[in-house]
Symmetry: C2
C-alpha cells in the first residue's frame, strides 16, 4: 500500500478532471472557485472540439466574476501528460467498466505516487474498477449529486481495498471545501442517494402509468410536501418530528397497516417496459426544454435559506 499525502494547502493543488461532460464541467467549476491558480486545473477529454466546448460551456457553471479563469484552464486529449503532476485525478467518464478499469491502470502508471484517484461513477464500485491496478488501495468512489457545483453531497465509497489514508484525505478535502462528504460503510449497488431516488422514481412511474396522477401533478405533490420538508430534515428526522413525543416509532406504529399496504402494493415497473412511451411523452410535453439557470438559483437559495435558519436558531449541526 502506497503512503499517500496531499498538500494541506488545497487551493494550490493540481487537479485533473477526466471527462468534459455535465458532471466533469460542474466539478471543474467547483474546483475553479477555490484554486488560486486556475492553470492548476486540467480537463482531459478526447473530443476534438475540447477547447471551444470548454470556452463555451464552462462559464455557465460559474459566477460572472470567475469567467476570467476559464481560458486559463489547461486542456489535454491524452491521460499520461495530464496526470503526471496531479495531486488529484477525478474521473467523470462514461459509465463503462472496461473504460474505467483500463483508465485507472493508465493513470496509476503516470500520476505521482501520492495522487488521490476519485471516480464519479453512479454505479460501478471501486472494487470492480481497480482490478487492473498495481495498488488498488488508491481508488475510491466520490459520487456527486448533479449538479455538484451547487448540491453539496458527495458519497464517498471505499472498496474493501481502499486505504484508510485515502479515505481520510478524501473526506478531509471535501470538508475543507465546505461540501458534505458522506462516507458509506460498504459498497452497494447504486450507492445511497441513487437507490433512494430510483426507488421513489419507480413508484412515481407506476403511479403515472396507472393513470392515478399526471407527471406534472406528481411533481407538484413532491414540491409542496417532501421537497421543502426534506430540504431541512431528511426522512428519519422529519418523520421523527412528526410523531410527537413518541417520535418515529409512534408515528409508524400508528399508520403501520397503511405503510405495509403501500409496501405490498408498490409498483414493479422495469426499464424498457411499456410505461416508457407514456411517461417520456408526458415529461416532454409538460416541460420541454428547461431553464437551468432558474433551477440553479433556486437550489442555491434553498440551501442558503436552510443554513440561515439553522444559524439563526443556533441549532447548527
Amino acid at each position: 500500500m502506497t503512503s499517500i499525502s496531499v498538500n494541506r494547502d488545497d487551493e494550490d493543488l493540481r487537479i485533473t478532471i477526466i471527462g468534459a461532460g455535465t458532471i466533469g464541467l460542474s466539478l471543474a467549476a467547483l474546483h475553479l472557485t477555490y484554486l488560486k491558480t486556475p492553470s492548476n486545473l486540467t480537463i482531459v477529454d478526447v473530443r476534438p472540439d475540447l477547447e471551444s466546448h470548454i470556452l463555451r460551456a464552462l462559464p455557465a457553471y460559474l459566477p460572472q466574476r470567475l469567467h476570467i479563469r476559464v481560458p486559463q484552464v489547461k486542456m489535454a486529449s491524452s491521460v499520461p501528460a495530464a496526470v503526471k503532476d496531479s495531486a488529484i485525478v477525478q474521473e467523470c467518464g462514461p459509465e463503462n467498466l472496461a473504460f474505467k478499469s483500463a483508465l485507472w491502470s493508465e493513470v496509476e502508471s503516470h500520476a505521482p505516487p501520492d495522487a488521490l484517484f476519485w471516480t464519479s461513477t453512479s454505479g460501478i464500485p471501486a472494487s470492480h474498477q481497480n482490478v487492473q491496478m498495481r495498488d488498488p488501495s488508491r481508488l475510491i468512489v466520490v459520487h456527486p449529486f448533479n449538479p455538484p457545483h451547487i448540491l453539496p453531497l458527495l458519497e464517498v465509497v471505499p472498496s474493501p481495498q481502499t486505504s484508510q489514508s485515502v479515505i481520510d484525505l478524501t473526506v478531509g478535502f471535501w470538508r475543507r471545501r465546505g461540501r458534505q462528504p458522506v462516507l458509506l460503510q460498504k459498497e452497494i449497488t447504486g450507492f445511497v442517494a441513487g437507490r433512494l431516488a430510483w426507488v421513489l422514481l419507480r413508484e412515481a412511474i407506476h403511479l403515472v402509468d396507472q393513470g392515478i396522477v399526471t407527471v406534472e401533478q406528481l411533481d407538484r405533490i413532491i414540491e409542496n410536501s417532501m421537497g421543502p420538508r426534506w430540504a431541512y430534515a431528511g426522512p428519519f428526522k422529519s418523520f421523527h418530528a412528526g410523531g410527537g413525543p413518541g417520535g418515529l416509532e409512534a408515528l409508524l406504529k400508528n399508520v403501520s397497516p397503511t405503510v405495509q399496504a403501500c409496501w405490498d402494493d408498490a409498483g414493479k415497473v422495469n426499464m424498457g417496459d411499456s410505461w416508457e412511451d407514456k411517461v417520456f411523452r408526458q415529461v416532454r410535453e409538460s416541460y420541454g426544454a428547461l431553464d437551468l439557470e432558474e433551477r440553479d438559483l433556486a437550489n442555491r437559495k434553498v440551501l442558503q435559506t436552510v443554513q440561515e435558519v439553522k444559524r439563526e436558531t443556533k441549532v447548527q449541526d
Copy 2:
C-alpha cells in the same frame, strides 16, 4: 345526489374540525388565519380537557398576532350540535374504519344538506368510509401533508361515488386559499405522497439495517441532494433537467443498468421486522426531542424562497 353549493365568501364559512390531534389543530390554525369570525370555527373532540388543550396547544400553530383568535374558537364534545350549521366538516379522527363510517352517517344526519364532508385519512379511501351514508356522493378525501398549516399540499381523492360538484367545490376552496390541491384520478392505497414517502423510507430503513449508513448520514444525504432539488422541482422535472437535450429519456437510458440493478436489489423490509429496534434506537439517540419551531420556520422560508425565485425569473407556474 344532493345538489351542493358553498358560499363563495369563504372567509365567513362555518367550519367544523373533528379531532383535536396534531392534524386537526394544524388545519384549525390554517382556517383561523382566513376566518373573519373566529367563532365560525368549531373543534369537536371527546377528550375531557378539550378547552385547556386547545388554549394551550393551538397558539403554537399560529403567528403571534392571531393568538387573540384562539379563545373565540367554539368547542364541542358531540357531533350533532357541532355540525348543524357547518358549510364544511373536516374529519381528523383516528385511522379506524368503524369510527369513520359511523361518524359520516351521524354527520350526514345533522349537517346542512349542502355541507362539504372531508376526511383527512392517510389511508382509508372514501369508498370504504361512505358505506353507511345515505348519500355517499358527498364524501371526499382531502389528505394534508403534516403540518398542513405550513406545507401547501392537499391530495383530493374522490371515491367513484363522489359527485363532480363536491370535487369542484373542494378544489376551488383550497385554490382560493392559496394552497396546492392535487386531484387524484382514482383511489389508491396510501394515495400518492404517502406511497412515495413510504417507498423511499423502506429503502432508507433497509440501508440503515444493512449497516451501509447511519440514520443521520442518510438524512444528511437527502438534505444535501434530493431535498433542496425537489423543493424546486419534483423528480420527473429534475431528472428531465439533468438529462440535457435528451431529457429524462436520455438520462434513464444512460444509466439504465444501474437503475434496474437498484430496483432489483431494493430492500424488502416489513413492519414489525428485526430492523425496528436498531432504527428506532438510532433515531432516538441521534435526534431526541426535536425543535419544531425551527422546522416550521425552515419549511416556510424554503417555500417562500422557491416562490420568490420563480416570481423573479417570471417562470411562475
